[in-house]
């Protein structure tokens, strides 16, 4: 038997996260309640360790491991660093929220680490099987996280909806993959790409498979017309879990789109461009118009996510390296904005009180001018008002679409962004021009206050100096996609 090259070093961050997740499961059994905070410390250490390894072992060449089932390219490194950052910030923001609601348990942190592992696998998947296993690992952990507050009826309902629709989406994705396998005879991304390049064997079957894959991906991303689950799940989940679903997981879904549509099926670009145009238009319309009618801020942010996904798809459908780089930039900026936005909601929540209605933000300026200012930055950034990060992200995506010649689409996107500005600015109006209804003092741990401030101010600073982040995204895309 020939020597087997597993090349475990390439997958070291994944191995560390997996080992730490299992260690936390075991540690939880032996800890006294007073020492429970150690679980949190170890989770953060796991993410930090993985980040250090990813950064140190970074090279600009594409490395394969596990017989080509796993890839470590610059894109994977950049996206993984984004995932660690988003997960770590999520854990900082949610610590006091979950401990006040009796969810500060080993399982919460173990499941978060397992879903992080799933995301890392999705980012590094170079084979349909690997991608699918990563996706299932992520989804299964998320279903459990949503339902973890099990005595809460709305969480249970959200978990049920998420589970059923998520299973449907996985089924569609698998069906599409099986079609591709039937035609090309390959399951690995490079093999499929090569087979398609050497004369696509049968266009009809390929497009059928493509339709199912795109539908499955759209479900996971939350793009219209597959967006039904997004508002319900965002609304019903505990805010801590909503933050996690809304931020880090979108990076993984983004990576899956890159691997499947761009790397495996670039030959079919003309076919998926049309599908993405329909999805982008619908997402921007549904997201921005439906958000106006929301009174719950979590639902409003859910529709805002849908519209952001529409903008993200604009970056993809230009089918150029420039467009992919702008899409990478967009997803990372979106994650930063979402983190800060939900961070404020978590900050205003306290024991037995969820600050999830728009009215709860009324008069925030009188209660705390600083947090009102931070929320103002987040809302400006989400609306895309210069000089915030959101403006630059929208700008690059629109520029890429314009270069590819989608002028009508760009005009439509700008109109939708204008409509969207209405409900973001309404939040600002509530904070600055209304009298507070709620006078409770805002209490939060120091680390959360500090990170939240850095997070929101970062939106402003990165908006003015976006070049380094943009360069990193362009570098990752150029060195990863041939």
């Amino acid at each position: 038997m020939n020597a087997i090259s597993f090349d475990l070093m390439t997958a070291l961050p994944e191995i560390l996260v997996l080992a730490m997740a299992m260690f936390i499961l075991l540690l939880d059994l032996f800890l006294k309640p007073a020492n429970r905070f150690l679980i949190y410390v170890f989770s953060q250490l796991a993410l930090l360790g993985a980040a250090v390894i990813t950064a140190l072992t970074h090279t600009s060449v594409v490395e394969y491991a596990f017989n080509g089932l796993f890839v470590d390219d610059p894109l994977a490194d950049v996206l993984k660093l984004g995932i660690y950052l988003a997960t770590s910030v999520t854990l900082i923001y949610t610590r006091s929220y979950i401990s006040l609601r009796g969810m500060f348990r080993g399982e919460f942190y173990a499941l978060v680490l397992f879903s992080t592992l799933g995301m890392m696998i999705m980012v590094s998947g170079q084979h349909f099987l690997t991608l699918y296993m990563g996706l299932e690992l992520l989804s299964l952990s998320l279903y459990a996280l949503v339902a973890l507050d099990r005595d809460n009826a709305s969480s249970t309902e959200a978990a049920m909806k998420y589970f059923v629709l998520g299973a449907l989406a996985s089924g569609m994705l698998l069906y599409g993959m099986s079609m591709l396998y039937g035609v090309t005879g390959h399951l690995d991304i490079n093999g499929v790409a090569e087979a398609l390049l050497n004369g696509a064997p049968d266009h009809g079957v390929l497009v059928l498979g493509l339709v199912f894959i795109v539908a499955g991906l759209a479900f996971k991303l939350g793009a219209a017309p597959f967006q039904m689950w997004v508002p319900d799940v965002y609304h019903g989940s505990p805010t801590a879990v909503t933050l996690f679903i809304g931020s880090a997981t979108k990076i993984a879904a983004f990576a899956m789109v890159v691997r499947l549509l761009i790397q495996a099926m670039f030959v079919l670009a003309a076919d998926w461009q049309g599908m993405l145009i329909i999805m982008a238009v619908l997402s921007m319309a549904v997201g921005n118009i439906a958000a106006i009618a929301q009174t719950n801020i979590k639902r409003m942010l859910a529709y805002s996510t849908i519209s952001h996904i529409g903008f993200l798809l604009l970056g993809f459908l230009s089918a150029s390296l420039n467009g992919y780089a702008s899409a990478t930039f967009y997803i990372l900026s979106y994650v930063l904005m979402t983190l800060a936005g939900f961070g404020i909601i978590l900050l205003l929540s306290r024991k037995g009180f969820e600050a999830d209605k728009l009215e709860d933000l009324k008069g925030l300026n009188q209660r705390s001018p600083w947090y009102a200012f931070l929320m103002l930055l987040v809302m400006f950034s989400m609306a895309g008002i210069p000089p915030t990060l959101g403006f630059y992200a929208k700008f690059t995506v629109l520029q890429a679409a314009l270069q590819a010649g989608f002028i009508v689409l760009v005009v439509f996107a700008v109109i939708m962004a204008l409509i969207g500005a209405f409900y973001y600015l309404r939040v600002v109006k509530y904070m600055y021009f209304d009298e507070p209804e709620d006078h409770a003092a805002i209490v939060a741990p120091v680390d959360m206050k500090l990170v939240l401030s850095i997070n929101a101010i970062g939106l402003l600073i990165l908006g003015m100096l976006p070049q380094r982040l943009m360069d990193a995204c362009a570098y990752a895309i150029i060195h990863s996609i041939q």
Binding site: I4, N67, L69, E107, L111, F114, I121, L137
Partner: protein, 212 residues
């Protein structure tokens, strides 16, 4: 037609019949038993394809373990069939065209010349003594080690999630934790609610006094 063809068509017919009955049987226990039949005939088709290991695993794992457990669950639960079936006729006008459309699309794709038998090369006959059990094992632990390990992590997550979601402390436990008792605060036991003063108390008190 050779003998194998007759066996295949017989098995396929039974499989289709069993599959249809799974979704049309009124009694859930019968539906589960038809599913067992479907698994069994599918295992037979796998044997025809010379995939002995998969055929045996299907019978052992699905028929032997999963379906037996499933039958127990179905028998334990009191499933209200009428509630499951309500809404069937309302959904039919939409569901039927969509279903037919999807079926037609699949027939057009799968029935086209691209999936006909002569497009696919016949597999080379296996040498004597070839063991597909060993071959599956070799593939699983070498080429496909990563998905295999990931599958085990997914199972671990399933276990963790199932325990986290269902494990509850017993309500009838008589165990007392003194530490918890000492920590009790007034707010946990006593709730002070503000009520408007009762103005009618005088008139309300009088009939009570008469009754005495």
């Amino acid at each position: 037609m050779i003998f194998q063809d007759y066996v295949f068509y017989a098995l396929a017919a039974i499989l289709l019949f069993a599959g249809l009955r799974v979704i049309t049987a009124r009694n859930p226990v019968h539906a589960a038993l038809f599913l067992v039949l479907a698994f069994f005939t599918a295992a037979g088709i796998w044997l025809l394809l010379e995939a002995e290991f998969l055929a045996i695993a299907l019978v052992l794992v699905y028929v032997g373990a999963v379906m037996v457990l499933f039958l127990f669950v179905v028998m334990m639960l009191d499933i209200n069939l009428d509630r499951l079936r309500e809404g069937f006729w309302n959904a039919l006008p939409v569901a039927l065209p969509v279903g037919l459309l999807m079926a037609a699309e699949m027939v057009m794709i799968l029935g086209s010349k691209h999936f006909s038998a002569d497009m696919l090369n016949a597999p080379a006959p296996r040498p004597v003594g070839y063991s597909n059990t060993a071959e599956i094992g070799r593939q699983l632990y070498t080429d496909y080690l990563l998905p295999f390990e990931l599958a085990s992590v997914v199972l671990l997550v399933a276990i963790v999630a199932a325990i986290a979601l269902t494990l509850r402390e017993r309500k009838d436990s008589k165990f007392i934790d003194p530490a918890e008792q000492v920590k009790v605060k007034r707010a946990d036991r006593l709730r002070i609610i503000s009520m408007p003063a009762e103005k009618e108390s005088v008139s309300a008190a009088e009939p009570a006094a008469e009754n005495k």
